[in-house]
């Protein structure tokens, strides 16, 4: 699923520090929830991984060793060892292990450039963690947690309904 322009357009004008702050909150929550997340990376933990959503004006850079994520506006691409590109929903689905990475790569919905070994290690590390973004975001929402979780789960279900090779 490609995000509609009307949904992504405000991100072109939103202050980058604001977007980055929100992203870092979610990233910190995921790292806190899955402390073993990057253990499988081994020597690849020092690498820099860029994620380029094709339907967003943003690029996300993850540095596992520093437990850091940064956000950049396109067309500026930060220096990275490995780069993965696809729709935002597809990238989130891969983060959660909802889709099989090889299958979406075969379908040409996903592009990977740079250090293939590093990206493969990260893919396998993510796949072994049962990341559940609706649940993780809900944990940050205090008394609104049940509501946030239900809403986020519903959005995920709808977003993935058209994706091929969806996990049962």
């Amino acid at each position: 699923m490609t995000l509609p322009f009307a949904m992504t357009a405000p991100l072109r004008f939103a202050p980058l520090p604001l977007i980055e702050h929100a992203t870092r909150l979610v990233f910190a929550q995921v790292v806190r929830q899955y402390p073993d997340l990057f253990d499988r990376l081994g020597e690849h933990a020092d690498k820099r991984y860029a994620f380029v959503p094709t339907d967003l004006p943003l690029v996300f850079l993850i540095e596992p060793a520093a437990r850091r994520i940064s956000v950049h506006h396109k067309p500026h691409l930060p220096a990275a060892d490995a780069c993965m590109g696809g729709t935002f929903v597809l990238l989130l689905a891969l983060l959660e292990g909802q889709l099989d990475g090889d299958a979406v790569f075969f379908s040409r919905s996903l592009t990977i450039t740079g250090d293939m070994e590093a990206m493969l290690a990260l893919r396998n590390a993510l796949d072994d963690c049962n990341i559940d973004l609706p649940a993780d975001i809900a944990r940050m929402s205090g008394p609104f947690a049940p509501l946030v979780r239900r809403a986020a789960s519903e959005i995920r279900t709808r977003a993935l309904s058209g994706e091929a090779a969806r996990w049962n």
Partner: protein, 325 residues
């Protein structure tokens, strides 16, 4: 018939168990198994936990120690066998005759399966492994037709397991040197076919170019499904033509022939894909479970959904339906 399912991570292992596997096969995080990819496979502690999880669900765990030992470094493989036995593996999947001998001598009660990597494809070879090392099961190389399998089954005394779905190798399993030629590393010795460290994908105009070491493997035009960057699936210039010299980028699927395989004497159906994600494992195992139980007329509809998970998004029955001989 048993359904033997792959797991490259503990999460995939649990998915396989939950989706209906009779046995899950996996390997250690080193060169002793033929899927030695970055970020994949099991530590000793992870295997212990996985075996306990499988036992609670009455599912078996097979440990693949199916590469060939290097002279002077046998300890790595011996330790893998000792640890897998100690942790309670229901069977070891072995390819190296020396390692089979070690296992039979040190752990005579341990159930031993002959890996597809051992290339035991005729009655004499299988009988030798059964009589010499006490092998209880052979995983047949993907080079035989179903009538070949039936003829072999009548001549041997051990159980037969065959691959029915997933990645497909050229017909020299356990002896293929294509990856070694291009990268210096092989599935047989290092557990890696076309190691990711030597793989590059790049966009060239509208084409996706795959490279392995110094070789361009393939150029996929826009819209064409991609495949793995292995030499055997490469597109070559031969005389005036450009095409696939060894095999097309397709996956194996012979689930349409389950009944024929059962009649031929096959007792276990194996799914390839330890390098795949848990989404693949969950989907393929659950569909296969239903397909094995389903009537033959219902299977095509069930199995058609798996094609999109396949390499090149196409499938073949491979040598099981050999038409070129």
């Amino acid at each position: 018939m048993e359904l033997i399912c792959p797991a490259g991570t503990p999460a995939a292992f649990r998915e396989a168990v939950d989706a209906g596997a009779d046995a899950v096969y996996c390997g250690f995080r080193d060169e002793t198994n033929a899927r030695n990819f970055p970020g994949l496979n099991f530590s000793r502690d992870e295997l212990k936990t996985a075996i306990a999880y499988a036992r609670r669900h009455k599912v078996m765990t097979f440990v693949a120690i199916n590469t060939f030992m290097r002279a002077g470094q046998e300890k790595l493989w011996h330790d893998a066998v000792d640890d897998a036995v100690r942790l309670g593996a229901d069977a070891l999947i072995l390819a190296d005759f020396g390692l089979m001998a070690y296992t039979a001598e040190r752990h005579p009660q341990q159930r031993l399966h002959v890996s597809v990597q051992a290339s035991a494809s005729n009655a004499d070879a299988v009988k030798f492994l059964v009589e010499t090392f006490g092998a209880k099961r052979v995983v047949l190389p993907r080079i035989l037709t179903i009538p070949d399998v039936a003829r072999l089954a009548r001549q041997i005394s051990c159980e037969i397991e065959v691959f029915v779905f997933g990645g497909l190798c050229v017909m020299a399993e356990g002896r293929c040197s294509l990856s070694s030629y291009a990268t210096g590393k092989s599935p047989n010795m290092n557990g890696v076919c076309s190691p990711a460290s030597h793989v590059r994908y790049r966009e060239d105009g509208s084409e996706l170019v795959s490279e392995l070491g110094d070789y361009t493997i393939n150029r996929f035009p826009a819209g064409e499904a991609a495949g793995y960057p292995t030499l055997c699936k490469g597109r070559f210039d031969i005389a005036e033509e450009r095409g696939y010299a060894f095999e097309d980028p397709v996956s194996l699927d012979v689930m349409d022939h389950i009944d024929a395989l059962r009649d031929a004497g096959v007792g276990a159906l194996k799914i390839e894909g330890r390098q795949r994600g848990k989404a693949y494992v969950a989907e393929v195992v659950s569909v296969m479970r239903r397909a094995v139980a389903a009537d033959a007329t219902e299977r095509p509809a069930l199995l058609s959904r798996l094609r999109r998970l396949s390499e090149g998004q196409k499938t073949t029955s491979g040598a099981y339906e050999k038409r070129w001989r």
